[in-house]
């Protein structure tokens, strides 16, 4: 694994995609593009030669990020699915290559022509940057950032490709690049660290572009300001590690056998994401209700708590999806359970019990954060008791949704998880519409109806002195729904199996 350049899969890609004629063609196209960019920059007004080279450097760097990012995400997004379509992946799986070696080979090999093209332009951009007066550290940092950025989004593409049947669907890997834009939304909030997921703030801060808001104020990590480049690189590395874990666990498995993470890994992921949440929380933005308050820049402690609940609602759902048991394994677990050989918390049992420790850890971390800040924010301002109930409510609603998806997996639906998620979206849309329609007749009843149907309606209740009764009713109701889905799952698992009917032929 360490000697990646000797990876057989990488060598295969180099041989098949970088034959001399093809490499020469790619180099020629790259040269033409460089010349066109140079001419374009030359035609613009510049005060001096250095400014021209700075412009050229900026354009080349932007092109390198765009070309490598899009190309790699697409190539890796199709890498596994295409091999499945061609029926060559089975042969790869039956070699002695480990999943980690397959990952390295695909990650570096699938977009090899893009790497080559960008490598051809690198000397030009480096020289342009240095002549243009850009600090060598910034030039070097940009290259490191380019590699890290590209590997991260390639990993997302490869991860997506592992989960789809058709190579065409692998282009969805490109959507990962949208995270770059979405992350920018955090650039001016209390969680500026998340903006570092986008490469833009890191590049701006690296080149000291003070004219732009993005990247001007460095993010904080546990209260200390850290350069955006460092945060970006660390974030890419840490998040990549989770993607690598999921890929290595599942790359050699058939699609129906995929289970993204083990139970403990799911719990670990929630803890990790919560740590990120509190690490990036800029505590200077927290204001007491009695202080000066401005929505765009400051938050009450209870707002942070609500955000923590929302954040964990999303991630409990995602780890629930990641921990869905493949139907066959679930059946084996169920049979063993009936024989008293498997516990309810077994690796291939139902995923919902594992949401409980994940939610508990998330709540414990919120309490720890509140305790850590008690010298500046009184504990009471966090409304930890009510927030605990909110965590419980979100846990129950999420467990219901995850159980529903597990039931979908046991049916003969095609793409059961995808369809199950679409059904859930339909449910939530219907809940909102029902709430709105109810509001037409009675403004008092609308929030109650919404509370019964979704956990999100509860978030607005945080300022109440005590938990409303309807909240407890909603939780009881959803627990009942969970029991019903469990019964449905049990019925599915108890269905008798049939012997394959062989046809003469």
């Amino acid at each position: 694994m360490l000697r990646f350049w000797r990876n057989p899969l990488l060598i295969l890609h180099v041989r098949s995609e970088l034959r001399p004629a093809r490499a020469a063609m790619a180099a020629a196209v790259t040269l033409v593009v460089c010349i066109l960019i140079t001419m374009g920059c030359w035609s613009a007004d510049h005060n001096d030669v250095r400014e021209f080279f700075r412009d050229l450097y900026a354009w080349l760097l932007g092109s390198q990020f765009a070309v490598l990012g899009v190309w790699s995400a697409m190539a890796c997004g199709q890498a596994v699915a295409r091999e499945r379509e061609l029926k060559t992946f089975d042969f790869l799986k039956t070699t002695r290559l480990t999943p980690a070696e397959l990952l390295v080979g695909k990650l570096l090999g699938a977009p090899i022509i893009a790497y080559f093209a960008v490598a051809c332009t690198l000397p030009v951009s480096i020289v342009a940057g240095l002549v243009g007066g850009i600090r060598p550290a910034a030039v070097l940092g940009s290259v490191v950032l380019l590699v890290a950025f590209n590997l991260f989004y390639s990993l997302i593409g490869l991860w997506g490709s592992m989960l789809v049947e058709k190579a065409s669907a692998g282009a969805v890997g490109l959507l990962g690049l949208l995270a770059n834009l979405v992350a920018l939304l955090f650039a001016d909030g209390p969680f500026r660290g998340f903006a570092a997921l986008s490469v833009v703030p890191a590049l701006f801060s690296l080149h000291r572009l003070r004219d732009f808001d993005v990247g001007r104020v460095p993010p904080t990590v546990f209260g200390a300001e850290v350069p955006c480049v460092i945060v970006s690189l660390v974030l890419y590395v840490l998040l990549s590690a989770w993607f690598v874990l999921m890929i290595v666990r599942n790359l050699k498995r058939d699609l129906p056998q995929i289970q993204l993470l083990s139970r403990w890994q799911c719990v670990g992921l929630v803890a990790f994401l919560n740590l990120l949440f509190y690490a990036f929380l800029d505590t200077r933005r927290i204001t007491l209700p009695s202080g000066q308050w401005s929505f765009s820049h400051h938050f009450y402690p209870s707002d942070v708590a609500v955000l923590a609940v929302l954040w964990n609602g999303l991630f409990l759902f995602l780890i629930g999806v990641a921990a869905l048991s493949p139907p066959e394994k679930l059946k084996i677990w169920w049979r063993k359970g009936k024989a008293g050989e498997a516990s309810y918390l077994a690796a291939h049992g139902l995923p919902w019990p594992w949401l409980v420790p994940a939610a508990a850890i998330a709540y414990a971390l919120l309490v720890a954060e509140a305790c850590g800040l008690r010298s500046v924010v009184p504990l009471g301002e966090w409304r930890l008791g009510f927030v605990g109930l909110l965590f419980l409510a979100f846990l129950i609603f999420t467990a219901r949704d995850v159980l529903f998806l597990q039931w979908c997996l046991l049916t003969r639906m095609k793409h059961p998880v995808m369809k199950g998620i679409l059904f859930l979206m339909l449910y939530y849309a219907a809940a909102v519409i029902i709430g709105v329609v109810t509001g037409v007749f009675s403004t008092e009843s609308a929030p109650k109806v919404m509370t019964l149907l979704t956990a999100f309606a509860l978030l607005g209740e945080i300022q109440r002195p005590s938990a409303p009764t309807i909240m407890l009713v909603a939780m009881a109701l959803q627990l009942g729904v969970c029991v019903l889905i469990l019964v449905a799952i049990q019925k599915r698992l108890a269905r008798p199996v049939h012997i394959a009917a062989a046809s003469a032929g």
């Binding site: 060559t88 089975d90 002695r96 290559l97 059946k331 062989a502």
Partner: protein, 312 residues
């Protein structure tokens, strides 16, 4: 002979369907084991489980003592696998393709170039060594597939319907190639629903139907176990129909006599000694016998007998 591959209580379920159930197979070294059965019998599922591509619902597969699903990378060094319809990397040259798989199977580096030339010679692709794969015919690609499967000198070759989609000439080439592998001592597990493909080639067979192994063993053993009688064909010259009928009718162990022209076919439930006595009595009665011998059952005969009429 030690077993190269052992499947015990192998079971596979898909949704509510049991594709393979309670399969126990043990194949000794040097055997050519034909897995036969109709479409949907579970042959492909069995082979995919045997090479580690499918995880069994129950039971286990060991190859050379290594559990295929517990230590997949360890077991793969002993397994060569080829499926029915497959693709190859079209943008590579023949030698590059084999070089990739030699490295992927982690063969010792110094051995690889010589081994590539050796398998290219074995499959008869010498003239195409430096050719691009996209220019090869279907039959040549099939040969290349076999070369890939044997590049790392596997202990067992798992072939799933390897002749599918091949023209008669390519099928013949494939048979010859597999024969030569057999002669070199390679153990082969080959599945097919075209029974003539396996005729005269397999040393033992397994008959699968509805996910179950209904019979397994050498063709002779299965044939002997299933037949309470042997089918005998008799030929003579001259006008001896009446004598033949009369003589054969005398024997209580003989039945199902059919006479057509100067040939007869009958079933005989006695021993070889008693069969020799039948021949002697015919000769003594003046019948000028020109041929007399047991009709060997083909794999097809056995399969039809076991799967539809007499067993299931």
């Amino acid at each position: 002979m030690p077993s190269v591959i052992e499947m015990s209580k192998l079971r596979k379920e898909f949704d509510d369907l049991v594709a393979v159930q309670g399969l126990d197979v043990s194949i000794p070294e040097g055997e050519i084991y034909g897995l036969i059965g109709p479409n949907g019998a579970g042959k492909t599922t069995t082979i995919r489980m045997a090479c580690g591509l499918l995880e069994p619902t129950g039971g286990r597969v060991t190859v050379c003592g290594v559990d295929v699903h517990e230590k997949p990378e360890g077991a793969q060094q002993f397994i060569g696998y080829l499926s029915d319809f497959f693709s190859v990397y079209e943008d590579l040259k023949v030698w590059e393709y084999l070089d990739f798989f030699a490295h992927a199977y982690k063969m010792p580096e110094p051995e690889i170039p010589a081994r590539i030339d050796e398998v290219i010679h074995e499959v008869g692709l010498e003239v195409k060594r430096d050719a691009m794969i996209k220019g090869l015919s279907r039959g040549m690609k099939q040969r290349l597939g076999i070369a890939r499967a044997i590049i790392h000198r596997p202990k067992i070759l798992l072939l799933d319907e390897p002749a599918s989609g091949l023209d008669p000439k390519a099928r013949l080439d494939l048979r010859n190639l597999l024969r030569s592998l057999r002669d070199q001592g390679t153990t082969v597990l080959i599945s097919s629903h075209i029974l003539t493909e396996l005729e005269g080639f397999c040393t033992s067979i397994g008959l699968m139907e509805k996910g179950r192994m209904i019979r397994s063993g050498t063709i002779e053993d299965i044939s002997a176990a299933e037949s309470q009688y042997r089918v005998v064909r008799l030929g003579w010259v001259g006008q001896a129909d009446a004598t033949v009928r009369a003589k054969l009718a005398e024997n209580p162990q003989l039945f199902g006599l059919m006479v057509q022209g100067s040939q007869a076919v009958f079933k005989f439930a006695g021993s070889e000694e008693e069969l020799a006595a039948v021949l002697a009595s015919l000769v003594a009665a003046g019948v000028r016998v020109v041929s007399f011998g047991e009709v060997k059952q083909t794999v097809e005969d056995l399969y039809l007998k076991l799967s539809h009429h007499e067993v299931m």
